[in-house]
C-alpha cells in the first residue's frame, strides 16, 4: 500500500469502511450474546438452592433474630457488641422489655451490627456477632447476647478474645460446645454478620442502639437519663398497641 492511483485508493478506502462496519457489528453481537447469556446465568443462580445455609438456624429471611411469641408490636433492636451505650441500654431498658417479651406483650427482633470495628480498629464486633450467630444456631442467642453485654470491657476498644467468647457460651450453657468452638474458629456466620450490617445501613441505621417500634424509629434524643429513654420507649409501645 505505497503509492497508488486514485481509483485504487478509493477501492481500498471502501473496503476498509466495509471491514470496519463488519467489525463494529461483530462487537455489538458479542455484547448482545454476553448480555443475554449473562442475565440468564445470573437469573438462574441468583436464588441459591439453600439460602439459609450461611445463616444461623431460626433467623428471619433478612437475618434478624426473633425473640418472643407475640406477633405485635414488633421492636427492632439494633446493637453492636462493642457499643458502650448499648450496654447502658441493656442494663437499664432491656430488663423491662425482656419482661414484656416473656409476658407475650411485645416481639423483639435483634439486628447485630459490626460497624464499630472500623472506628475501633479491631474485629471484635464481627467476631462477637458471629459467636452470637453460633449461639442462635443452638437456640441460645438471647442468653448469649445478654452474657456478652454483661461482660463488655469497661474500656471501649479492648474488645473480646475468642477465649472469652467461648467462656460466655460455657457460662450460659450452650449444649454442644465442640460445635460452638468450631463455629467461632471457622467464622461460620461471617457472611450473615456482613449481611446484617449492610441491611442495617440500608435501613438508615447509622448508630447503636437504635430501636424501631412497628417500623417507626423511637426518638429519645430529648431524654437525658435512662429513665427518660424508658419513658420514650414505653410511650412508643403504647402508641403501637
Amino acid at each position: 500500500m505505497t503509492k497508488q492511483d486514485p481509483k485504487k485508493a478509493r477501492q481500498v478506502a471502501t473496503q476498509q469502511a466495509a471491514s470496519r462496519r463488519t467489525r463494529t457489528i461483530m462487537i455489538v453481537a458479542v455484547f448482545a450474546v454476553v448480555i443475554i447469556a449473562g442475565v440468564a446465568v445470573w437469573a438462574a443462580k441468583r436464588t441459591p438452592s439453600n439460602p439459609s445455609a450461611s445463616m444461623p438456624a431460626g433467623v428471619n429471611s433478612d437475618g434478624g433474630v426473633p425473640v418472643g411469641t407475640a406477633t405485635s408490636p414488633v421492636l427492632d433492636v439494633y446493637e453492636d457488641f462493642q457499643c458502650p451505650i448499648c450496654k447502658g441500654f441493656e442494663d437499664n431498658i432491656a430488663p423491662v422489655l425482656d419482661q414484656m417479651v416473656e409476658a407475650g406483650q411485645i416481639k423483639e427482633i435483634y439486628h447485630v451490627m459490626s460497624f464499630l470495628d472500623i472506628n475501633l480498629s479491631n474485629d471484635s464486633s464481627k467476631r462477637a456477632a458471629n459467636a452470637a450467630g453460633c449461639a442462635q444456631d443452638q437456640g441460645m442467642f438471647f442468653e448469649y447476647h445478654n452474657e456478652v453485654f454483661a461482660n463488655q470491657p469497661a474500656t471501649e476498644g479492648v474488645g473480646y478474645t475468642d477465649d472469652q467468647l467461648i467462656q460466655f457460651a460455657e457460662t450460659v450453657g450452650i449444649p454442644d460446645m465442640t460445635r460452638f468452638k468450631q463455629c467461632v474458629a471457622d467464622d461460620t456466620f461471617g457472611n450473615w454478620v456482613t449481611q446484617m450490617e449492610i441491611n442495617s445501613e440500608n435501613s438508615q441505621v447509622t448508630g447503636t442502639p437504635t430501636l424501631f417500634v412497628n417500623g417507626k424509629v423511637v426518638d429519645w434524643s430529648q431524654a437525658s437519663t435512662w429513665n427518660g429513654v424508658l419513658t420514650a420507649v414505653q410511650e412508643a409501645i403504647t402508641a403501637a398497641q
Binding site: 467489525r23 461483530m26 462487537i27 449473562g38 443462580k45 474485629d123 456482613t194 449481611q195 440500608n202
Partner: protein, 174 residues
Amino acid sequence: MTNADRNQWISTVVRVVLAGIMLWAGLAKLLEPEQALRAVQAYRIFPPSIDDIVAVGLPIVEVAVGVLLLLGLGTRFAAWVTTGLMILFIAGVASAWIRGLSIDCGCFGGGGDVPSAGRAGRYLTEIGRDLVFMALAIWLIRFPSSRLSLDRLTGIAVEIGEDDNNPDETDESS
C-alpha cells in the same frame, strides 16, 4: 523476524492473558450472584437499587471484554474499556481504604467485610494487581494488532495509520 512481527506476537500473548483475567473475574461473579451483590454492597458506595445493577452489569461487561480480547475483535476498544475498568476498580478500593472499611475487593468472586488484620497490605496488593492489568491493557492500546485475531482476519489491522504495528511504518529488519 521484524520488530513489528515481534510486537504482534507479544500482543497476542498479552491479549490472551488479559482475556483470561477478565473472563475469570467476570464468570466468578456471575456464577455467585449473591456473593457478588455482597461484595458490591460492602463498598457502601451505591444505594441498594444501584448495587443490584452493578452486581450483574459489571461482570457482564468483564465477560464481554474478555470474549473480545480472546477473539482479538476490536482489540483497541476492548483495551480501552479494560483500562477504564481498572481505573474504577483502583478508585473503589482506594475509597474503601480511605473510609476505613475493611473489605475484600471481590475482584475474582468473594468479597464483603473481612477482618481488619493486614488491611493495608491487602489493599496495596489489590491496587498493584490492577495496575499490572492496566499496564497490559495499555500495551494493547499502543500495539493492538496481533496474530490469531479477528481484527487481522477482517483486514482492519493493516489499515494505514490505524495501527502502530503497521509494517509500513515500523518495518525494520532484524
